[in-house]
Symmetry: C2
Subunit: 406 residues, 2 copies
């Protein structure tokens, strides 16, 4: 079994980087804090004897040789970028957990048949640069490097320039290669395990989702003398969409969720009718048709609101990933690993997107979840009981051993 | 009559300060551009032989002596702060118009019985520091200097510090004093004159209004795995209020207008349920009861939305000014001045707030409006035909002469 103390020590040291006042972390993709997190990780990879490769997307791989080093490797990992003022567990648990698996094998002097690689994927969160899961998506052949390099954040910084700036634009090509399987440990970020009182989630798949970047453009005018019927208020139109997203997602009797997360009003002044509003929409379901229909419905609502208010509108999908169902055999490997530890588990699908969604396209893939207290994530209040982290890491260890061949 | 050329030259030179790409001006209260505008004005006041006084609020007065200098002065003026990326006419026309009146008297060698003062009031727009009409409000005894100094902008800068920084924290006390009357020339900022095809508006009063600073605080969480019924989404609650403000203002069959102009979402990320939204509400009517009822209604809507979404709420009035009806005799002086010029005019009330609203509490007050093309204001597209500016300034000249005694 893994060393709870070593893992804990690493976890605490890692989360000294980019700590926020309210006890979270602020290490968005390609920020200085993200660079320091990457540097620490590379140092630990090397100390554990892993051979480190950085690819052109900034994905970091640490490789432990197998008895038969020509065989395709077992890949484990997650990401170390964070939300703006996000939680300490999201992503970190999977990367440090993968490293802990390797160190446990090192300590026990176990050589595996297949090589094992631990990976930290670039820009999983998608909060600074959209789309999310960019590094794993490029690895799976969904995006190419030039597409990624040209993405910009709200301040206009290019992904490629920022990657160069922090020193993580590597030489290795980012492209599909032969993998035996991919296993990812992650916090659930939802309430199912907490509700069930189980320490482990055996993940059978991931919701599909769509991200829309939308805008209304009306006319700025004075909030006093401009009669109500002569207004072209971009925010009133946006109000319709916020309400529509809630209605579309809340009332279908299905698993659809919908969120307007980001709203930027211009000029954003107390006595000026809003001229322009840029906003985002996020819809998710395990059923791709449900996602498509929701996007179609909200597009109609946007057009309708624009028409009524006499404003222009734009709506573009900046991200669309299909629902994924994981490899049956590998899912049973994970369930078996949990059984061997007598850990009670829930079989579930993930509402959060994961790098595993893209890896699922190129090799057998599965995930291990550990519970999030109160189901809370993407906030500094995110928390997971330490015992659950350790149990999840032991499930990962057993699953890796089963696949890599002890 | 006034010199169209001199006024035009000054107007163009003044609007070289803080010009924006789209042809507006960006000179918000106490900004560097506002300082340069003030410096230019003081220079021109002095060149015109006016005695300059700056008071503790940064209000700038230029005084032309009267034959009988002990008599209470006729005060004319407006403001030179602008909206963020606002128009070139708003406020400027009234201050430069006042200066032009004085220069015309100088040229004609006319000494008036009473002194004449031209004023530029501090922070009329209220867009950087709320409340608006701060300098004139303090002059009228509504606010004291310490209240003003402690106001902060969104970035946390104090009004007092910024006033000091730009060198306009003067020594003269800002308090009511004996005035014969106050006359203000301003662009209408609404559609009434443009619709009527008239060059002049004789303003009989100003709407009362209320400004609310409000906020919802819910729980940040992940946009994917968090079920719809477990959310506490501050933006969904805000959507209700945007809709409610439109409904309350649009359907009463009265003159009420309502606007949500500023919305700040936190953390404002595509895949995070909004934790906190800070927003503003602006309600106006010529009837104070209507304003009060609207504020009461929206407060109930805020409480109701908060209750439904399970979020906390705050709502504070940061500004409340009662409806003003101007001095009947002075209004007739303005109408008579327009008649003498054979200018066609509309009698109207103003939906925009003006420094005149506060002056009306301390002395007989009235206003002259000139039309805004398409009724547009608080935007770079604001425009007034030059002939109308000249006509309005001539009306001001005649009204000043009538009151100051030629
Ligand atoms: N797991 C996770 O938080 N992924 C970020 C992308 C998303 O699902 O919104
Ligand atoms: N006239 C004018 O634009 N005043 C600013 C204050 C307001 O009415 O909102």
């Amino acid at each position: 079994t893994v060393s709870s103390d070593r893992l804990r020590e690493r976890f605490e040291a890692f989360n000294e980087i980019g700590t926020t006042e309210r006890g979270g972390v602020n290490r968005p993709s390609l920020s200085d804090a993200n660079r320091r997190a990457r540097d620490t990780l590379v140092e630990w990879f090397e100390a554990a004897g892993l051979g480190v490769t950085v690819d052109e997307l900034g994905n970091i791989f640490g490789r432990r040789s197998g008895r038969n080093d020509d065989r395709s490797p077992v890949l484990v990992g997650s990401h170390v970028d964070s939300q703006y003022n996000g939680g300490r567990y999201d992503g970190v648990v999977g990367v440090l957990g993968g490293l802990e698996v390797v160190e446990t094998l090192n300590d026990a002097g176990i050589e595996t048949e297949r090589p094992i690689e631990v990976v930290a994927w670039s820009n999983e969160e998608g909060v600074r640069f959209q789309p999310d899961m960019l590094g794993s998506g490029a690895f799976a052949g969904k995006f190419d490097a030039d597409f990624a390099y040209d993405l910009t954040d709200k301040a206009g910084n290019r992904f490629g320039d920022e990657l160069e700036r922090i020193g993580y634009r590597g030489d290795a090509p980012c492209e599909p290669r032969d993998l035996h399987c991919y296993l990812e440990l992650h916090v659930e970020q939802g309430p199912k395990l907490a509700d069930a009182g189980h320490s482990v989630g055996v993940v059978e798949g991931v919701y599909g989702f769509v991200w829309l970047d939308a805008a209304f453009e009306g006319t700025a005018d004075h909030a006093g003398p401009t009669p109500m019927h002569q207004r072209h208020d971009a925010l009133v139109a946006t109000g319709d969409v916020v309400e529509a997203v809630r209605r579309i997602a809340g009332t279908g009797g299905d698993d659809l969720v919908g969120t307007v997360g980001s709203v930027d009003v211009s000029p954003n002044a107390i006595n000026v009718i809003p001229e322009r509003v840029d906003f985002t929409v996020d819809f998710r379901s395990y059923d791709d048709g449900t996602v498509e229909r929701a996007a179609e419905k909200v597009r109609k609502e946007i057009a309708h609101a624009a028409d009524r208010e006499g404003v222009d509108w734009e709506c573009e999908a900046v991200m669309r990933i299909e629902s994924q169902s994981f490899d049956d055999d590998l899912v049973e490997t994970v369930a078996g690993a949990a059984d061997d530890l007598d850990a009670e588990y829930t079989r579930l699908v993930s509402g959060a997107g994961h790098d595993a969604s893209y890896l699922n396209r190129v090799c057998p893939t599965a995930m291990v979840f550990v519970p999030s207290v109160d189901g809370v994530s993407h906030t500094e209040a995110e928390f997971t009981e330490w015992d659950d982290v350790v149990t999840g890491t032991n499930v990962l260890l057993n699953a890796v051993l089963a696949e890599a061949g002890g």
